[in-house]
Structure formats: C-alpha cells, structure tokens
C-alpha cells in the first residue's frame, strides 16, 4: 500500500484514504461551448499515459476531501512530490533530485 503525502493535511496517509482522479493540469476551456471538435477531443479524451514521471490528480477522499496534484514515477510507483491544486507544475528535475530518484527513463511529461 502506498503512502501519499496530502499537501493540505501535511501528512503521509495510506493509499486507502485516497482516490486517483486522472491526469493533472488539464484545465476546462473557458469558452468550452465554442471550441472545435478536435480541441474538445484533446481536452476530454486524450491523455499522456507516460512510462516514467507522470503528473496526476488525487483526492484525499476519506480525509480532508481535497483534490491535489502529484508527481509520480509510474515505473517505480514513487511519489516525487505532491502539491495543492492550482499551484504551478513543479520542475521535474528538482523534484527528482529532492527525492533522489533516478528519472533518466521515461520523461514523458510535456
């Protein structure tokens, strides 16, 4: 079972308290009613699914209830960092260094 650091509670808690909520940093277009079919497809259907460093959303479902973002290595399952919703995408290299994780493989994030 993974331990996940909730940036709102400031604590590592067991995976059972959380729910995965898909890829992070995909904002709903403000003019959504006007966007093209292709743009809508990219917004709603297309996902990166990289092997390696991935940005994803989690919700502390059975804790504070907040949605937050996480950087996880999808190969090792290790969390590089977690941060509050709305905060900018962290620099992966920094995050990796901080956690002494080898991220040489699969830098899939755009």
């Amino acid at each position: 079972m993974l331990l996940i650091h909730c940036p709102y509670c400031g604590e590592e808690r067991p995976e059972l308290e959380f729910r995965h909520a898909g890829e992070a940093h995909i904002a709903r277009p403000e003019n959504i009613a006007e966007i093209s079919d292709e743009d809508f497809a990219h917004y709603f259907f297309y996902r990166d699914n990289p092997k390696g460093v991935t940005f994803e959303r989690w919700r502390h479902m059975h804790g504070c209830g907040r949605f937050f973002n996480a950087v996880r290595d999808s190969v090792s399952d290790k969390f590089l960092t977690t941060y509050k919703a709305g905060e900018p995408k962290p620099d992966i290299a920094d995050a990796a260094n901080e956690n002494q994780i080898n991220t040489s493989k699969g830098q899939g994030a755009k």
């Binding site: 331990l3 904002a27 009613a33 917004y43 949605f67 090792s76």
Partner: protein, 1000 residues
Amino acid sequence: MSAAGANRIAGAGRLTPANTVRFTFDGKSYTGLQGDTLASALIANDVHLVGRSFKYHRPRGILSAGPEEPSALVGVRRDASRHTPNIRATVQEIHDGLDAVSQNRWPSLTFDIGALNDIGSPMFSAGFYYKTFMWPKAAWKHIYEPVIRNAAGLGVAPKEADPDNYAARYVHCDVLVIGGGVAGLTAALSAAESGARVILCDENAHPGGALRFEGEARLDGMAGHDWAVQAAGRLAAMDNVRLLTRTTAFGYYAQNFVGLVERVTDHLAAPEPDMPRERVWQVRAGKVIIAAGAIERHMVFANNDRPGIMLASAARTYLNHYGVAVGRKVGVYTANDSAYGAAFDLKRAGADIPAIVDLRDEPDAGLVEEAGVLGIRVLTGHAVTGAGGKLRVASMSVEPKKGGRTEVIPVDALIMSAGWTPSVHMFSQSRGKVAWDEETGRFLPGTYAQECASIGACNGTDGLEATVNEALAVGEAAAKAAHPKAKKPSVAISVGSAGKWAGGMVGAGPGAEAGKVVKAFVDFQNDVTAKDIRLAVQEGMHSIEHVKRFTTNGMATDQGKLSNLHGLAIAAEALDKPIPKVGLTTFRPPYTPTTFGAIVNHARGKIFDPMRRTPMHAAEAAAGAVFEDVGQWKRAWYYPRAGEDMHAAVNRECRTVREVAGMFDASTLGKIEVVGPDAAKFLNILYTNPFLKLGVGRLRYGIMCREDGFIYDDGVVGRLAEDRFHVTTTTGGAPRVLHHMEDYLQTEFPDLKVWLTSTSEQWAVIAVQGPKAREIVEPFVEGIDLSNEAFPHMSVAEGTVCGVPARVFRMSFTGEAGYEINVPADYGRMVWDAIYERGAPMGMCLYGTETMHVLRAEKGYIIVGQDTDGTVTPHDAGLSWAIGKKKTDFVGVRGLKRPDLVAEGRRQLVGLKVKDGKSVLEEGAQIVDNPKQAIPMKMIGWVSSSYWSENCGAPIAMALVENGHNRMGETLYVPMPDGVIEVEVCGTVFFDEEGGRLHG
C-alpha cells in the same frame, strides 16, 4: 532404540527425549518428540515415503528441512472443517493428536494406480496439454479437463467453511529484520541497542537459522546455536523489540510495507478457542534488513527424487537439531564443501558413509584429509549418475566424470549439495534488481529500489566473521537513519570458525546431459526434468519466461526455490548463452503459501462488505418485507401477504397505490446540501437544466451529464432559500455525484462560494403516494398548507411532521399525487409508524422497490443506469426539455454538440407494446427489425425495462432502439430461445398520459 523412533540418536539433537508426542500418519500411530517437525518425526520412525508427485505419481520423500520443501506435502486434519492440504511436513510442528495424511495416491501410498503415468511419461512431456488435447474442441471442457484435473493436483480442500478466526494488526517500526539467523539476530541486536524500534521475524519456531545445523560455528565463546538462543532471549527482553517466531515475511510491497503472517495455533494440541489461528502483521518499516539466508540446491541426476535422497544441510539439521539420523548407510554427492560437514557429523553419530562423491577434481585438501581420518572414502571427479530403489533409495551408481566403470554402492539414504542459492526473494519483491556474480556463479542483490539492505548469506556474504561484521554495521546504520542521535551499540560478537557457502554447480550433472532419456528432476513439485527444459528450448521457447510457462518449472507453490537456478542453467546451456543473458524470472508474493484465511481475515460473512439499513428497516421487516440488495443497501423489495407470491404482491401494491395510496421508504436516495451565495450558479453549471430562476419553495427535476454529454445522474433539486438547495441523487450515485461536484467546485470553479455536504444518512425519507396521500398525511403536518393551491406539484416547504422538523416535498415518482417527507433519521421510524397506523385502515399499503419500478415505468420515468448505460444523452432519453435552451455553459454543453451525438439514427428511448398482450419481455433482450434474416442478426437495440403492468392490464417495456423516436407504430421483433416476440414501438408513457393525477 528410542521410544521416539528407531533413527533417534541418543545424545544428539536439542529435543528432550522424555517429552514424547503421539501423532498419526496415514492412520498409523507414531511417537515423536516435542519440537519435532512432522518430517523429523517421520524420519525418526524410518518413514521416508510421504507422498506421490503431482504429474507422474512418483513416490516422494523429504528433500529439505525447511520452508523450501517441494516434495513432502501432506494434509493435516484437526476435524472435518479443519483439513489443510499441501502442508510442508518440514515446517509443520507435531503435537499430540496431529493427524496427517499423504496425498495424490490411490488406493494407497505404497501402491498407487496413478503411478502408471510414470510408465506412460513419454506422453506427458512438457507442453503435452497444449499438444495432446486439441481435438475435438468440445472434448476439452467435458472430457479432458475434468479427467486431468482429477488425476493431477495434490491435496483436497475441505468442503466446510473455515471455522477458525484470523487476526490482523498494523505496526510501525524503525527497523524490520527478516530472518533470525546469525545475521538477523546480530543486526537486530545492533539496531535495538542503538535505541531503534525493532521487529525481528523468523519463520521457524526458534531463531537460529543455519546455526541449527552448523555444528562447528562458535560465537562469543559459545556453540553457535547456544549463542542464538541467548541472543533471542536478549532481544525478547528489550522493550523496543518485538520478536516474532513462526512468522513468515510473505510479501514486500511499496514503501517498505511488509506483510508477515504469524502461525499462532497450528503447533498446539488444544488451542484456546478464542485464539486466532494466524495473525497477519502489516508492517511499515523505516528500514528493512533482509537476512533471509541461502537455500541449498539439489544435484540433478537420474532418479534424484527417490525417497531418502535429500539435501545435505537437511540431513545435518535432522541430526544436529532433532537428533535423527536420516539413514544408516548414507551416500554423499556434492559439488561444494558444505556437504562434508554433514557427512562428518553423521559418521561421528554412528552412520556408515560409504563414499563422498565429489564432482570437483580438487576439493579442499583439509576436508579430504579429515574424511580420511574418519575413514570415509572420497571419490573426486566422480558423479552419481543414478539412484536405485523405488519407494526408498537403495543404491547410488557412481562413475568417473570423464566416463569409466560404474560402481553401484548400496545406500539407504543419499545426501547432496550443489551449492547455495542466496535467497533474494524479498529483495526482488521489493523491486530491487538482482545482478549475476560471475565469480561465485550466483544472483545477488544489485540495484536497490527501497529503503532496505541485504545481509549475510542472502547478500552473498561468505563466512561467519564477515557476516557478523556486516550485520553489526548495517544494524547500527539502520538505527542511525531512524534516530540521527542514536547511541553507538555496545554489541561485540567474537567469531570462531564456520563452514563455507560459496561454490558449487548449477544445471544437470553427468548422466543427465542432453540426449539422455532419464528422469533427472529439476522441479520436484511440478515434476519437471532436465529433459523437459531442453525440449522447451528445442520447441522455440528462448526466453526464460516462456521456458518457465511451457514446462511449469518453478511455477508450483514452492516458487522454484530449489529449481529456478538449475532450470535457468539448463536452458542457458541449451541456448548456448551465458546465464545472465537468459535472465531470471520475477519473484512475487507470497514467499511461501499463505492461507486464504489470513488474507481474507475479518472480511468474511456479514462483515465482508458493510450492510446499510434505513431507519425504518425493522418496521419493514416486521411488516413482512422481502429485501433486495441495492449496492450496500438493504431495500424493501415487496411486502407479500399470506398466500401471495412476488407477482401477486406487486400487482396488489401497484393497484393500491393508484386506487388508494401507498407508503414507500425512499431513505436510500442520495442527498447533498448545496449552500452558499453562488449555489444557484454552481447548480446551473452542474445540471443541464436552468437553475438561476428556480423559485424558493420550488422543485426541479435535474439531469447531470459528464463533459461528453452522456447522462451521469438525475434527481430532484429543491430550493429552500436563495442560498440553500436540497439536491437528491440516485441511490447508487450519491458518492460519485458528490465527488463530481467537489471536483468542479475545487478545481474548475474555486472562486464560487459554495459548500457541499452529504446528508444522505441524515434524512429518513417517507414517500406517501396516491389519491388519498394528502388525506393521510395532513393531520401530522404543521406549518405547511398542503392545499393544491398553496403547495402544488413540485413544491418544497419546511415545517413539522409528527412534531419533528421536516422538509416536505410535493413530488412523485409514481405519477400519483404524493409527498416525500424528510425527517431527521432518528425520527424516521416514529413518523413511519404514525402514518402507517392512520393510513392502513384507510386502505393504504406499504410498497417496495419492485412496485416503485413498475409505477415509474408506467409513467415513462427513467432510472439512470437501467434505462441509460453511459452512452445515452438527454436527447436520446427524450429529455431534451431538461436542457436549458438559453444556457451558454453547463457540464456537457460541448460534448452534446459532438458529431456522433447530433447524428441521425442514434439509439433512443422508446416504449414497447407487446402484441400478444401477455408476454413480459426479458430485460436486456435484443431487438431486430427482421426476424427472418440470417444469423448473426443485426441488432438495433435492447430492452431496458420491462414489467407486467396490472394497472394497464398489459406488459409494458422501454427500450433503446436505433432511430427509435422516428419509429412510432413500427413493428419490431425480440427473438428469444423459444420464439420471436412481436412488439410495437410507442411512447414511453403508458398510464395517465396527460399527467392529471399528479395534480390531484
């Protein structure tokens, strides 16, 4: 001769001769000693034949003295429901009354019909299932598989439920030490003396590991095993240490989460009834120290599976720990030094050692000299090419490696050692990558993936002194990592001599090379021979993963603890590649077989899944309700009266609601309180309907879509105040709708001032529906004018009912005028009883979910998830009116414009009338427009809801049909196994089409 077996050696071993234990094997009674395993007690009684093999039914004995055992698998029985199959005799401790039976034999262990498989074995080579049982196709399911399943397989599981309890605990520690041999004990002492919180687990009854058999090891001036007992005692006495014996670390998961299973009662004759049989420890450790030791390998030669042939370290354990000689005339076959110690110990205990056959040309001169002093003949550069005997080894055939005369030497036991395989299972489970060490020919821990360290034999550390020094350093470092200010441990351990671990050989020995048609077993549990592995390579399996699956080598419950490396070496040789190029298969949990009881633990029976009951459940049960499961909820399904079946009860309930009134428990509906100055704005985004102008005190039926435009949920939303809404969801949708709302609120519209609270459990909901609904509830209601004018259909108001605060909804899911009365959950039962007492004499009935379904279908009200399947838009469902025409944004606004969603011919919800007026369609049945077309027919839709409608006097159905809205009046067909049913497409409202009754 000892009472506890003819092979018990006086003065040998650590058991107490006076502590005798009676047990049975295959119905025969034997005597063993307290502390014996079933294996040691059987060998003491000169029983080597303990089972038949999986595929060939070959007689099998005891190969090891530990958890790696692949052969000696027995059933152990306490009573009819406590029969555990496939227990390794080498780890099962005996107790008075232990009842063990051999497996996979008929009619008896010594005469087994299934052994014919051994004679017919050319037919049963690797992959024979895939090749032999291909034709005819149907025969696999009905003939081949049942017969094969019956003939193969080992023990038989009990048919009764497991009556035992299992316990589970979560624990945290700074340092978890896996394995209580010299390395583990030393590391634990070192870490614990530094102040760290330590857990040490060992799978045996007592720590000690290899010190149980290594006679010459000396530590702190003590015999090795005495030191281990003393060290374990020291650890057990420390407050910061938890010492767990009979406890196996079975799984190593992410972030140093390790599963341990402690066997609590299996070794006890009469366990206390309230004791758990096993206890699972879920440990989260700061650092894991793996001190798992090494596992001795067998030699691969013809008939190496005869009972009486075993690992040298096992024979030495039986002698030095249990005081049991494995034979009187013991042959030795080795490629490694460590077997010599076993031979010397046995010789000194009085056994005859006719020869040590050493595959090496120049073994250690000191050992050869010592053998000479003891009068043991050493044949260097020789091989054992075969074993004689059937139910017990009777001889070994010895040849010079380079070829020459074969000498047949009579023996009654044969011990062997091909060397030691470091036990990297836990390291590998931690996702560490092993690396091949060319010099010593073994896989060792390479790249670490988690906070763990391997020490001792499992790390390839050879020799006692090096092991102790490594363990001291790693234990201290682990404590330092947890507590930077940890004190320096005051542990110092002086080391005497001990045997060597490195060296040996892998693969098939002489006499079992390519081209030789002999049964030289690599994997004893799955009956895989060296020849099978070569055949796999020959047939094109070039990856070890394929070889493994084709031959099943290493796929038995022992997970190839003995066989993996041999199998790999034979495959590598056949492929003419170096071993590391062929690769090692992945180790996965559990390390050794773990019971379902331990894993399932408390989560069984009634507490497998939470059961949710409404506040009125007991009243409904008392009224005779039959309940159905809806998710975790128990919902009243129907209320049969004497003599009524479900059909009759539902028909009566349906009639009564429309003619008089009915009362229904709607408490399971999801409820969300949406509050805040921006609440209306928020709901306007989440629902397709317009919400900005919904008046206070008014209700609106809302449709919720996902961004893709498909219906996600529906429900009635009531506005209680400018800034307060009472939202209802489907019963099953409550959690995901709240999640969906929170997602938009927190991440897309965080500036909106809205607060969401789940109130599903806070309100009990009592629906009273029917022409007499108002008359029934009116006397209980205060503060609300229930008249049609003041409180029309789709209104909500707060007041009191039976004197308790209530929210009363004038709404209907039946098509009748009615009320849904929300009261705080604790008052639900009181209000329910009060209304029932008044309503029943007036002719009101209780109705359940089945009647609710029929009544709503008569009115064409959809159920999300039944009449929609995640690909249905509001337009498809005939609910276009629920989409706010002037709204520029709501969730799904763009999705609904996608080309496929606006295309002609989509599946649309329609009603179906059955032409014969009596057949009730099957829900899920497929619909075609021409029943005479060739099979497979083109299916144009399916039936989503179907019932007998007593009120219409006819069957009614709803269906999703291609272009359905444009097919009104068309005849379609529902082909069923016993004939085609003709239907006519119609609107979805079957009863009171104008809806006048709602306003009555």
